[in-house]
Amino acid sequence: MSTVEPTRGLELTGSPGERAVDLGWTSWLHDWTTTVDHKKIGILYVLMSIVFLVIGGIEALVMRWQLFYPRNDVIGHDAFNQLFTMHGTTMVFFVGMPILIGMGNYLVPLMIGARDMAFPRLNAFGFWVTLFGGLMTYLSLITGGAPALGWFAYAPLTAHTFSPSAATDFWALGLIVSGIGTISAAVNFLATIFGMRAPGMTLRKLPFFVWTMIWTSFQMLLAIPPLTAALVMILFDRQLGAHFFDVPNGGSAYLWQHLFWFFGHPEVYILILPVFGFVSEVIPVFSRKVLFGYEFMAAATMAIAFISLGVWAHHMFCVGMGRTLDLFFAVATFLVSIPTGIKFFNWLATMYGGRIRFASPMLFAFGFLSMFLIGGLTGIMLGAAPFDFQLSDSYFVVGHFHWVLIGGTLFGTFSGIYYWYPKMTGRMLSERLAKWHFWLLYIGFILTFGPMHVSGMLGMPRRIYTYDAGHGWELWNQLSTIGALVQVPSYAIFVYNLIVSLRKGKPAGDDPWDAWTLEWMTSSPPPPYNFEEIPTVHSRRPLWDLKHPEDPDWQYE
């Protein structure tokens, strides 16, 4: 037992950044590959995610091209099946999680007034392991092709009999390895948040994003290991002749589904809780109002984290669990909508009566609010078990989860990137390009994934590389493909904006958005040690207290 140690880790963060500038690219490279600074590691995570986002996006485009016409013949069945496997795996494991972990890495120590993460070297290890996991998954291509399993790789399709190629082994190993990285990140977040908060920052005074990172990490700790164990079982079956999923020898195909979804559903919340955190920082600042109902928001986050551990089998309504279990998981699924609703209403109440500035972060937060709502509502439809008997594994599901993961996670993450980019680089992103980025993405996104709900209800199953004409699916597939093409320039503009603004952006200053959390107290970009002096905190908005000494927040909390 000891008191909070905010200075721990100081001796481990060197400050080679300034030194490196003069010594050419080798030293720059050495600096970035050996860094243990949470800010650099955070940026590395985000860059890795953007690279994989582009790869996953290209995979999606090729699939949309193939589906443009019925019985189209752009790529064969094999390539298509590999593409959706890699697209799903990439987007979930090597885009979604790393970008959120990266943002968390950058922000958590700054927001709690610490000088680094609790374990800087473990932090670096986590990043490199995650990256190697991604590379290993793609290394499966040397076997002549990626695995063709779908990202949830239902047993016994993963058995040697049905997938003889070693691509499946690469895939499983890659996910095990990156899972180790995720676990180390989660351990690091919890140790940092619980053990290294600035004096006065009790758990009740955490910035909301930090609070969501606690529960994200909690879910990672409980959800990733079962996946790791299940992947180990795949490898044991394939390599050692074990029988976990070997049905003729008594193994079970259900086992994989249960283990995978016990991971898979919390995973969805791992991908959305930090984003709730982003918009819970952005919306108050750009509405110029304190977050409405912080305690209820915090409790709702916690409730989602716990309930999410008991809803996994709503992915399995069609496997013949029986009415009683179906009902149990349907009810559990509906229950998630209550805390999620609470969050939504609190965001609206935060905006209500505010003075809303539509700078780029708020624009994307608006995109998040308006789109995530729809993803949540289609989720309720899927939760109604009998309705799901029709919708499960159809394009409706594809539309639904892209609505949540793009409309929710991606819009929210863009909001966060536009919000904190000035802090990370000292430069503002171009607002003009941001508007182009937003509107192209907004329209392209709706056009891509809206029609999928329709084609799903018209009976189109997912993961088919081709389809017959005459079922009324053509139009909706063509709209989807056109929508995907509309999205392409938006990502290009985003990347261009990131690169160009690095040099040509308007200097940001310490606090360009007139914000309230600790990271805006230090310089942009922050020095390697983050804060010259560890700040003392009295409320959830320490900078509000400084800016309004006559009416500080701590009077009301």
């Binding site: 140690e5 074990a242 009295h538």
Partner: protein, 207 residues
């Protein structure tokens, strides 16, 4: 915010020091939570497959208690011994600390050797391999991963012992020693569950 008006401003309450675990301790607790999830999965899988074999041998046929009782005793007593080692470190008795730590390591190694003897018997006399049947599959996976954790613990404690012999483990490293002890207790606790599930429940279920 000038000095003159500062007197009228509200003054925040004093900050009470917060008592909590240290960051490294939180880190170990978090890590162990993830380990619980991992072993939980393997144990649930073992239980789910209990008695579903299509060929023998079954746990009742293959597993024998005497050997595993000895190894269980070794592992459980090592938890007590490492606690004694911690106490010795607290009392600043480095030689006693080294002694107890070495004893813990020895008990861990005995456990591993006995597991090796047991596996040898299973493989040679009962022809039970990981590919033989579901029991073999789940048994070797569960006990194997536990043994891997014991091995890691032994290696870490050997490193600590090496440092301690060189007088490099002092009161300043108390937290590190605590964390190793926590890990070791955890490995013990997992074994208790494994023992109850594998050697008691599945053996006596007649399956």
């Amino acid at each position: 915010m000038n000095q003159a008006s500062a007197t009228n401003l509200p003054v925040p309450p004093a900050i009470a020091p917060e008592h909590t675990l240290s960051a490294p301790e939180w880190g170990m607790v978090s890590f162990l939570v993830s380990e619980v999830a991992f072993f939980g999965t393997l144990i649930v899988t073992y239980v789910a497959f209990m008695g579903r074999d299509v060929v023998g041998p079954t746990p009742a046929q293959a597993l024998s208690l005497p050997l595993v009782l000895v190894s269980t005793l070794c592992l459980l007593s090592s938890s007590v011994v490492i606690h004694a080692a911690e106490r010795a470190l607290d009392r600043d008795e480095p030689r006693l600390f080294c002694f107890f730590l070495a004893a813990t390591i020895a008990l861990g190694i005995v456990f591993l050797v006995l597991t090796g003897v047991e596996w040898h018997d299973l493989i040679v006399n009962h022809e039970l391999t990981i590919g033989r049947n579901l029991f073999g599959t789940t048994y070797y996976t569960l006990v194997g991963f536990h043994g891997l954790h014991v091995t890691v613990g032994v290696i870490v404690m050997l490193i600590v012992l090496g440092l301690a012999i060189n007088r490099q483990v002092t009161a300043a490293h108390r937290t590190g020693v605590t964390l190793v002890a926590w890990y070791w207790h955890f490995v013990d606790a997992v074994w208790i569950v494994v023992f109850l599930v594998v050697y008691i429940a599945s053996r006596s279920s007649g399956a």
